[in-house]
Amino acid sequence: MLEQLGQDPNVAVYCTSALHHPQSTGSRHFIVIDALSIGTSNVLGVGKSCLLLQFTDKRFQPVHDLTIGVEFGARMITIDGKQIKLQIWDTAGQESFRSITRSYYRGAAGALLVYDITRRDTFNHLTTWLEDARQHSNSNMVIMLIGNKSDLEARREVKKEEGEAFAREHGLIFMETSAKTAANVEEAFINTAKEIYQKIQDGVFDINNEANGIKIGPQHSPANQNMPSGGGGGNQGGNCC
């Protein structure tokens, strides 16, 4: 009897540890953040796809096909030692795809609003896009304003100060980037992610609500392999008795 009593707690302890295992390996989880890149375009793009390509693949493709609907890209980054997977939906800038683009606002935690500093019309369109984004998205969505093609200083039509003023006026973060030279590209994405991460820390975003565009990623650990072995341990204990 004594032996039996002595055995049981052991089994129990083993089981609980197995049960708690997924929680204890919480650090293995990573946060997944969904973000969009939006911005107008007529014939020539403002470079959203190029920005994404530069960020995910670290390369520049001067001739890029027109984005049809939406394209997906992802990269793992580290913020404050926390693994974060940034999933970016690169949307088409053309007016005809507007209704498609709208479907993506709700599920995104952040958006990169891109214009082309060498074309004023793209800057002038920002207000419409911003209104669209604000109307269809979560009110907490982090929006970063990006003036792309900063390498083409000679053809600049929109001053940096104007971009800054616009961002200040609408409460956005602002940066000028160049997808070609990769200047500020990394920073633009990471700063957006940082801002979102900060909002998670502050409790503005609920990680358990997937509609915010944030969730806990699947773990890479072989935790599920431990479960059967735990059960096996329990069985052995039972057999001994």
Partner: protein, 1144 residues
């Protein structure tokens, strides 16, 4: 205006009534006349008839009537009203009752009815007149709205009984499916009348829904509508042969056409009431759905159209779809579920239109996705079906659905439903996943990035649970599920996907154990053959072109005894005739994928063929392939040949050379034959077609880019003659043509890759043979035939061997690639001029050259690297050396300085020495030193004195100020102390002065001594420093010269300054002059202007003058005319004088 005329001739008994069902007409008078005329004729005729009848009556009792009715207009008719023909013309036997409109047959027998209608102004619908018998319709005549002339025509061919026309789409009629169920007429009529009743009911219901103000009332009406939408009536058609064909007629059409608007209105207005909304949705569902009932199977094709038409009408209004989507927000089951079903049906009917519709509605996809988390399984499952439809072939919707977290949710459902052991829901889930991923690179990327591949691999686990029931464990559902999972995997790594995507997925699949999982299925027992086949195909695509995965696959061992590599086991089944065909294809595909871009694997396979490593006891891949190559089964031959082909294909020609070494022991006693020769022998013996094609493909690949193989091949002249005979033969069917084309290709390759080692078949001689024996055109024609073959294009499309029947197998994918690359080379080599013939070969040579050069460049690169390294070394050495040199230099400098110092010292010493040589020099030196010392001391003392005096004065000054300021405040003792110290200092000063004086005297004495000795010295110096004097003089000369030069310089500078000044002065002058000139120019301009104005004035004057001249002339003329004589000269003179005056 309507004229209805009915008459009946002797017929069987019972009562007949003519009903007016529907009507519509306006009054029109023009035809009245006609009608009147006709009626008069009619009266006339009936009178005749009556006369005749009377005659007949005499002989037998006759039954019949003729009656007519005149109406002002059709509006006088009510629906389903019995028309009473009140004007009876003739009524034999008194069967017809003009009061009620009923005809009661007084005698049993056959009756024939004639019904004649004359209608006009029928501007709406049609008018139907039924002849009913005991309440059921016997026949119907109808009038269409038509032009007047038609009506007139119609009058002549008056529509008359029996015109049993049923108003419904005729295409819904059909012949009886089985002859045993003969319908009696009464049954048919019963059904018809039911249908008529139902239509009436339907109208009333619609009316009620529209007008009733009570919700309950409306609800009941909609419920009834729902019931009606499912009602089926059997209807019939009289065909030409008068056979009755029963058919099922649903009330969908009626309900659809009449009630759709009513129902959508209900959805809008009565949305708050769950019940009525549910009924309305159900009714719409019944109307739209084309679900074939058991009786309706054959007509389903036509009813598809019906559903599609209704759907089209319904979704034409975007707001209808928007409303349905918004209804999804209602949680109530009775609304949500029918909405889902209705949407699914709509999607099925009009996929593209509705997809676009839904895409435009904001958040529509999100709302549909939310259905997947509904706790009620039935809704969730139907939502899956809905999404399956929605995502069909629409990449953008697929992406949005994926964005809405579809993968996660679907995989959750799959797990919940028991993964691969699950039921049809799992199948639906997997179909949806496939839908989302197929041909959608973005979603595939998302699937990979989201770590969802890792979640698939457990689904393939054939856990131990199913092991005991191996044979029975595979339910049909499980087979389907596994199939779908495998397809899912294949979609992700399909060779048609972008390369980098496929590679990334393959990597993940290996890492997460999916490949291992697949291989374990491969080796498990009891797996159904079709699953096994698909698994092999999947493994093929997972390992294809990925080295790590290929290596893993090579290491997989089958659980046999002794354990054999999986590859060998698979090859065993490939060359085994008894295995299913598709399985053998899959194995070949797997083998190909294993060797694709895998040089290590290729050489390993070749190694097993070589005699050195051949082990008698174990079965190797090489043995199996050789066995297959020479077995009696032509398919095995083909498979083995293609497998070997894949082992030698590629850039690396090494394997092709190795394969030449393979020797075969044919039969006892005979010498071994090389593999190459054996292949040729089989070819020459005229094996089966598939065998020959396989071998030819192998040989072509073997020869390509491998001159040694060509050489081997050409050593046996029989080979060449066989090829020539094949190419030049002109008979044979389509497949035989392929063989001939391949022979031509092989022959061409022998030429292109000929290194002219074989004296009997050099490049040139082969070309000659081809041109003479075959002819260029025939050769080219044969060659180009190959690529034109249907099988060729099929094989070239993709690497997967997707064949259903052994006879379809002809070409290999890789071979088609090779053929495409080299076809042109061969053609050029054979057909072209000497030059162009050489082109192909020379290109090859060029390539060789390039290769050589590349190597040279590589060597040079190497050298360059070495050199640069050496340069670096040397540079570092050099810098070190320069550093040491610098050091040494500085040392040298130091030494030089020291040397100079020493020299100087030496110089001074030597001068001293010179001085020191005469007597008394020592003394002088001593004295000098002493003097110096003393002077030094004096200087020191002076300094001290000075310091003291300064301190004294400062102190005194401070003292004075202190005394001035603070005498009264401070105690006088301090001043006294200061005074004392001053005194003391003064005393010291005095002492020092005394000392100084003493010293001075000493100095003066010493000086006098020194002067004495100096004079001695001067004398000595005069002797020694003659030379020095000379140098001094030169130096002075030089300095003087320098001074002179500098003076000159200064004088020159002064001159320069002066000239500058002069320049300035001159410039000033010039400026002044210029100004003057400008002023002058100004003057000149003004003068010019004046001149011009003057000129103008002059011109004006001249003009005036001319005018005056003219006038004068006129006057003169007048005067002359008047008769006065004028002296012209005088006048002119006067004029001139005047002019002068004016000018002046």
């Amino acid at each position: 205006m309507i004229l209805v005329l009915a008459s009946a001739v002797l017929s069987p008994g019972s009562s007949c009534v003519i009903n007016c069902i529907s009507k519509r007409s306006d009054d029109v008078s023009p035809l009245q006349a006609v009608v009147e005329q006709l009626s008069q004729q009619l009266v006339h005729l009936t009178a005749q008839v009556e006369a005749n009848k009377n005659r007949i009556d005499d002989t037998q009792r006759a039954v019949g009537f003729t009656a007519r009715k005149k109406l002002a207009d059709v509006h006088g008719l009510r629906l389903y009203e019995t028309i009473v023909f009140d004007d009876v013309v003739y009524n034999a036997g008194d069967g017809y009752d003009p009061e009620t409109g009923f005809f009661t047959a007084p005698v049993a027998g056959s009756y024939v009815f004639f019904l004649q209608t004359m209608l006009h102004n029928l501007d709406e619908e049609r008018l139907f007149l039924d002849i009913t018998k005991n309440g059921s319709t016997l026949a119907r005549a109808h009038e269409r709205r038509c032009s007047r002339s038609e009506i007139l025509n119609r009058k002549q061919t008056a529509s008359s009984f029996p015109t049993a026309l049923w108003d419904m789409p005729r295409r819904r009629m059909r012949l009886p499916e089985d002859t045993t169920t003969r319908w009696t007429t009464s049954e048919i009529f019963l059904e018809l009348s039911k249908a008529v009743n139902n239509r009436l009911v339907l109208r009333r219901l619609c009316h009620r829904v529209q007008t009733s103000s009570l919700l309950e009332d409306r609800r009941d009406a909609v419920r009834a509508l729902k019931a009606l939408s499912k009602v089926q009536n059997r209807v019939v058609e009289y065909s030409v042969v008068l056979s009755l064909s029963p058919s099922v007629y649903k009330f969908r059409l009626e309900v659809g056409t009449q009630a759709m608007d009513v129902l959508t209105k209900v959805l809008e207005t009565d949305r708050s009431d769950v019940e009525i909304t549910g009924y309305a949705l159900d009714t719409l569902f019944n109307v739209m759905s084309n679900e074939p009932s058991e009786e309706d199977e054959m007509t389903s094709k036509s009813s598809v159209d019906l559903g599609e038409q209704f759907t089209e009408i319904f979704i034409k209004k975007q707001e209808n779809v928007t409303m349905l989507i918004s209804l999804l927000e209602e949680y109530d089951f009775h609304i949500r579920w029918p909405t889902v079903r209705l949407l699914t049906v709509l999607l099925t009917n009009r996929l593209k239109d509705l997809q676009e519709c839904i895409l435009v509605i904001p958040m529509a996809v999100s709302k549909l996705m939310d259905l997947l988390v509904d706790s009620r399984e039935i809704i969730r499952n139907d939502a899956l079906l809905l999404l399956n439809q929605l995502t069909k072939g629409h990449a953008n919707i697929q992406k949005i659905v994926a964005f809405e977290n579809a993968f996660e949710r679907i995989l959750d459902i799959i797990v919940e439903e028991g993964a691969s052991d699950g039921g049809i829901v799992v199948e639906d889930c997997l179909l949806l996943l496939l839908n989302l991923l197929k041909n959608n690179a973005s979603n595939q990327n998302f699937f990979k990035e989201g770590s969802y591949i890792q979640r698939i691999s457990p689904f393939l686990e054939l856990g131990s649970a199913s092991a005991p029931s191996k044979q029975s464990g595979w339910s049909a559902q499980k087979v389907t599920n596994i199939h779908l999972i495998l397809q899912l995997v294949r979609t992700l790594v399909s060779p048609s996907n972008p390369q980098n995507q496929t590679v990334a997925c393959q990597k993940v699949m290996n890492q997460c154990g999916l490949l291992q999982q697949l291989c374990s299925i491969l080796m498990a027992s009891g797996v159904p053959a079709d699953v096994l086949t698909e698994t092999i195909n999947t493994v093929s695509e997972v390992i294809r072109g990925n080295q790590a995965n290929q290596e893993y696959f090579a290491s997989v061992l089958a659980p046999s005894n002794p354990p054999r590599p999986a590859i060998v086991v698979l090859l065993m089944s490939m060359v085994n005739e008894k295995q299913p065909f598709v399985l053998r294809c899959a194995v070949l595909y797997c083998f190909q994928s294993f060797l694709y871009k895998n040089e290590v694997g290729q050489s390993q396979i070749i190694q097993t063929l070589l005699p050195t490593t051949a082990d008698v006891n174990t079965i190797t891949a090489g043995q199996l392939l050789c066995g297959g190559l020479f077995s009696t089964d032509s398919l095995s031959n083909w498979f083995a040949a293609v497998a070997l082909l894949h082992a030698v294909i590629g850039r690396n020609t090494n394997n092709r050379g190795q394969l030449l070494r393979v020797q075969l022991a044919t039969s006892l006693g005979n010498p071994p034959v090389s593999l190459l020769q054996q292949c040729c022998n089989i070819l020459a013996q005229g094996a089966k077609l598939q065998t020959r094609i396989g071998l030819l493909m192998l040989l072509c690949t073997w020869m390509a880019d491998c001159p040694i193989a060509v050489n081997h091949f050409l050593t046996n002249s029989a080979n060449v003659s066989y090829l020539i005979s094949q190419v030049s033969s002109s008979e044979g069917d389509e497949l035989e043509l392929i063989v001939q084309g391949l022979c031509a290709f092989l022959l061409g390759l022998c030429m292109v890759f000929n290194d002219n080692q074989n004296s009997s078949f050099t490049k040139a001689s082969l070309k000659e043979v081809i041109q003479n024996r075959i002819g260029e055109e025939v050769f080219a024609d044969k060659l180009t035939q190959v690529a034109k073959n249907e099988n060729y294009t099929r094989a070239a499309k993709k690497p997967h061997l997707n064949y259903k029947h052994p006879s379809e197998i002809v070409f290999d994918h890789e071979f088609t690639k090779l053929f495409k690359n080299l076809e042109n080379d061969v053609l050029v080599a054979v057909s072209g001029e000497e030059n162009s013939g050489l082109k192909a070969t020379s290109r090859r040579e060029h390539e060789n050259l390039v290769e050589n050069y590349k190597e040279v460049i590589k060597e040079q690169d190497q050298k360059l690297n070495d050199m640069s390294q050496r340069v670096l070394e040397l540079q570092s050495k050099h810098s070190a050396a320069t550093a040491t040199i610098d050091e040494l230099r500085s040392q040298v400098q130091q030494l030089k300085d020291q040397n100079a110092l020493l020299k100087a010292q030496k110089g001074s010493q030597s001068s001293n020495h010179l001085q020191g040589t005469p007597p008394g020099g020592d003394n002088v030196e001593k004295f000098q030193k002493e003097i110096q010392m003393l002077r030094f001391q004096v200087a020191e003392k002076d300094l001290q004195i000075e310091q003291l005096t300064t301190s004294l004065t400062t102190l005194e000054a401070s003292l004075a100020s202190q005394i001035g300021d603070e005498n009264k405040e401070n105690s006088p003792s301090e001043a006294a102390v200061l005074q004392i110290s001053i005194n003391r200092l003064n005393m010291e000063l005095k002492d020092l002065r005394v000392n100084c004086d003493q010293k001075d005297t000493e100095i003066s004495t010493l000086r006098s001594q020194l002067e004495g000795s100096q004079q001695d010295l001067l004398q000595l110096q005069n002797n020694s420093s003659n030379s020095q004097g000379f140098l001094d003089s030169r130096v002075t000369e030089m300095t003087e010269e320098i001074r002179r030069l500098s003076e000159e310089k200064t004088s020159l500078q002064e001159r320069l300054k002066k000239s500058n000044e002069e320049n300035l002065k001159l410039a000033n002058k010039i400026r002044v002059l210029e100004e003057e000139r400008e002023a002058e120019a100004e003057d000149k301009r003004s003068l010019n202007e004046e001149l011009e104005t003057l000129k103008k004035e002059q011109d004006d004057l001249l003009v005036l003058l001319a005018d005056q001249d003219g006038k004068i002339n006129k006057f003169k003329q007048r005067l002359k005319d008047l008769g006065q004589v004028v002296e012209e000269d005088e006048e002119e003179f006067d004029d001139e004088e005047e002019e002068m005056g004016e000018e002046a």
